[in-house]
């Protein structure tokens, strides 16, 4: 039973265009969401997060949108750069818990020069 789902295993985008990565969750107890980026042979690195009291959080080129009623979040990267090519994991947790994260299966983003 996958509580966090990333249905697109891969995405290719032209440099300079917008990348949109999607994530769905089923557990209504989740109230904190994160995106991690992972390069080959490295551990995941934190990118951006959002609390369920917000519907948008922005950090430079990265924006995360949360739609609680649809149990859906998305990560927008604009403009996309070749260095953004990596696997992106969506993760969710319950604030106030031990920050045990539940991860999606990841989306491989390739930004073409």
């Amino acid at each position: 039973d996958q509580q966090v789902k990333q249905n697109s295993p891969s995405l290719s985008v032209q440099e300079g265009r917008i990348s949109i990565l999607n994530c769905d969750y089923t557990n209504s107890m989740f109230d904190y969401f994160l995106w991690y980026k992972k390069y080959p042979a490295e551990g995941p690195t934190f990118l951006i997060s959002i609390s369920s009291i917000k519907d948008k959080n922005e950090d430079g080129r990265f924006t995360v949108f949360l739609n609680k009623s649809a149990k859906h979040l998305s990560l927008h990267i604009v403009p996309s750069q070749p260095g953004d090519s990596a696997v992106y994991f969506c993760a969710a947790s319950v604030l106030g818990s031990a920050r045990q994260l539940t991860f999606g299966s990841g989306t491989q983003l390739t930004v073409l020069p």
């Binding site: 995941p44 690195t45 994991f89 993760a91 920050r99 991860f103």
Partner: protein, 118 residues
């Protein structure tokens, strides 16, 4: 170094053998996590330590898996009687105490230990 350090980076072993994987968290981080990432999947939670004690071991798949953190810093994940299905990247992460600080959800991951059981 300043980050989470994991050793070995790669471990190849035979079915039935015993394996230890080590994690050295970021200095001052009281919380330590072990995750397992199988091919094509996201990391799956195994166990969480707050200080020396295992606060949540609900993710350990069976009693062949055990982890310790005797002094509240370095942790060792121990796998007995390894099976081919144990092959995965084992990730360690650390963080400040849950509930404190602005970044309440951020875990800092190491590069992982890739275990291959033949």
């Amino acid at each position: 170094g300043a980050g989470v350090s994991q050793t070995p980076s790669n471990k190849v072993t035979e079915k039935g053998k015993y394996v230890e994987l080590r994690c050295d968290p970021i200095s001052g981080h009281t919380a330590l996590y072990w995750y397992r990432q199988s091919l094509g999947q996201g990391p799956e939670f195994l166990i969480y330590f707050q200080g020396t004690g295992a606060a949540d071991d609900s993710g350990l798949p069976n009693d062949r898996f055990f982890a310790v953190r005797p002094e509240g810093s370095v942790s060792t994940l121990k796998i007995q009687r390894t099976e081919r299905g144990d092959s995965a990247v084992y990730l360690c992460a650390s963080s400040t105490q849950p509930g404190q600080g602005a970044s309440t959800g951020e875990l800092f991951f190491g590069e992982g230990s890739r275990l291959t059981v033949l």
